[in-house]
Amino acid sequence: FPVVPEKEKEDIQFAKKYLENFYDFKEKNSPFKSKHLNHMADKIREMQSFFGLEVTGELNRKTLDMMKQPRCGIPDVRSYS
């Protein structure tokens, strides 16, 4: 569904945490901002592919809404340790 406008920043923070928890996304202190964004986009793509969403790498509304569903705390990717 379309987003209620003023929540963008909060959403990105939430998405980062989600990807850290469940898709082995590690915030890298890379000096290259674009590299960092690419890394996050890769993880978004991985998550979209897992849930059968359209794989865009973008934090669109459907992707964010899927992230906000109540769920199991085990990661979705194999790197669980």
Binding site: F1, D65, M66, R71, C72, G73, I74, R78, Y80
Partner: protein, 402 residues
């Protein structure tokens, strides 16, 4: 599965329930967990034996926030539970977030403990997440009716890849190890009274009719509402979505958007100030915000002030200029004042008396840009509500750019 596909190297696996949630009776917690174990024992050679003291393979507990394993829980919603793959120590253990509202039955304001436990025990036995929508090991909670819940095929395939199919003779978990409190009857015993294990059979979904074509001239609708700028048209389990940002019509199903709502709405309207859409089916109504079903629903429509003789409503629309909602039932209509949360006096009135040209039953209604749109069969009537004038008659699917 998990890296290196860990699994229990034995068929008798023990479990112990360390504590309970105050949300449910202890007996209901025990029953939910025993039923969850039964799902897996019925399709593998595994047997699950409950211990009442000491170290069991699978230690089950309820905890909130930080609980000592560096995977803190996060309060209501979000992460509901987690469990560890087979192994020593914490391996196999299942933790449930006590900040959730745990329920025995599937409700709209809680999480079914049996369903979540069955999922987590899948991890305790070595299964990872599945991306098959509807599988038990799908990572997102999906409320569903669990009365005769059957393990989906994807999960059966997964667990049998680790443990193989059940042995004929040991299909049922039968024993409980000592030590055992003499007075308590253990659930592990309980299943011995079960009838012999049925083969899991694929449930064949009841036949849903195919979605009508967008431009079918005879297309009719059950309910129509706006939602954050979009217009949603409902017919049975199908949803047509018209967005102001995209050309073309998106097709969804009710179960995809709101898995726990039954399809076949009677009416729907949006209160955009509250970011809420209200759905009506038979004598109940739900409030949703986006995908989330608001707590405390469904409620009976009598709460809105309908007489008990009204068992369902045909159509509804909300007019935000007056913050009033119009309900249409048969040849009459009511006006509900959202400010006072009560029906306006002097209603019901005859639809034909106030909406000339509309003498028949309304299937669905929509308010858009100050105009009311009444859908009756395959026709649609556009009314200028200020002038109370019928502007034109169109086909119901004229919104689909046919």
């Amino acid at each position: 599965t998990f890296p290196q596909s860990p699994r229990w190297k034995k068929e008798d696996v023990t479990y112990r329930i360390l504590n309970y949630t105050p949300d449910m009776l202890q007996a209901d917690v025990e029953e939910a967990i025993a039923k969850a174990f039964q799902l897996w024992s019925s399709v593998t050679p595994l047997r699950f034996i409950r211990l009442y003291s000491g170290q069991a393979d699978i230690m089950i507990s309820f905890a909130a926030g930080f609980h000592g394993d560096f995977y803190s829980f996060d309060g209501p919603g979000g992460t509901l539970a987690h469990a560890y793959p087979p192994g020593n120590g914490i391996g196999g253990d299942a933790h449930f977030d006590e900040d959730e509202n745990w329920t025995k039955f599937t409700t709209y304001n809680g999480y079914n403990l049996f369903l979540v436990a069955a999922h987590e025990l899948g991890h305790s036995l070595g299964l990872g997440h599945s991306n098959v929508f509807g599988a038990l090991m799908y990572p997102i909670y999906m409320a569903r009716d669990t009365r005769d819940y059957k393990l989906p095929q994807d999960d059966i395939d997964g667990i049998q890849a680790l443990y193989g199919p059940p042995r004929e003779s040991s299909a049922l978990p039968t024993k409980a190890f000592p030590p055992q409190e003499p007075t308590e009857k253990t659930p592990a015993e309980a299943p011995t009274e079960m009838s012999p294990r049925e083969e899991p059979t694929e449930t064949t979904p009841s036949k849903t009719p195919p979605r009508p074509e967008d431009c079918d001239p005879h297309l009719t609708f059950d309910a129509i509402t706006t939602l954050r700028g979009e217009i949603l048209f409902f017919k049975g389990s199908y949803v047509w979505r018209k967005s102001p940002y995209f050309s073309g019509i998106e097709h969804d199903t009710v179960s995809l958007l709101w898995p726990s709502l039954a399809a076949g709405f009677d009416a729907a309207y949006e209160i955009d100030k509250k970011d809420q859409v209200i759905f009506f089916k038979d004598n109940q109504y739900w409030a949703v915000s986006g995908y989330t079903i608001e707590l405390g629903f469904p409620k009976p429509i009598q709460n809105l002030g309908f007489p008990t003789s009204v068992r369902k409503i045909d159509a509804a629309l909300h007019y935000q200029n007056t913050n009033k909602t119009y309900f249409f039932v048969g040849n009459k209509y009511w006006i509900f004042n959202e400010n006072t949360q009560s029906m306006e006096k002097g209603y019901p009135r005859k639809i034909a008396a106030d909406f000339r040209g509309l003498g028949h039953r309304v299937d669905a209604a929509l308010q858009k840009n100050g105009h009311f749109y009444f859908f009756s069969g395959s026709n649609q009537y556009e009314v200028d509500i200020k002038k109370k004038k019928l502007i034109r008659v169109m086909k119901s699917n004229s919104w689909f750019n046919c």
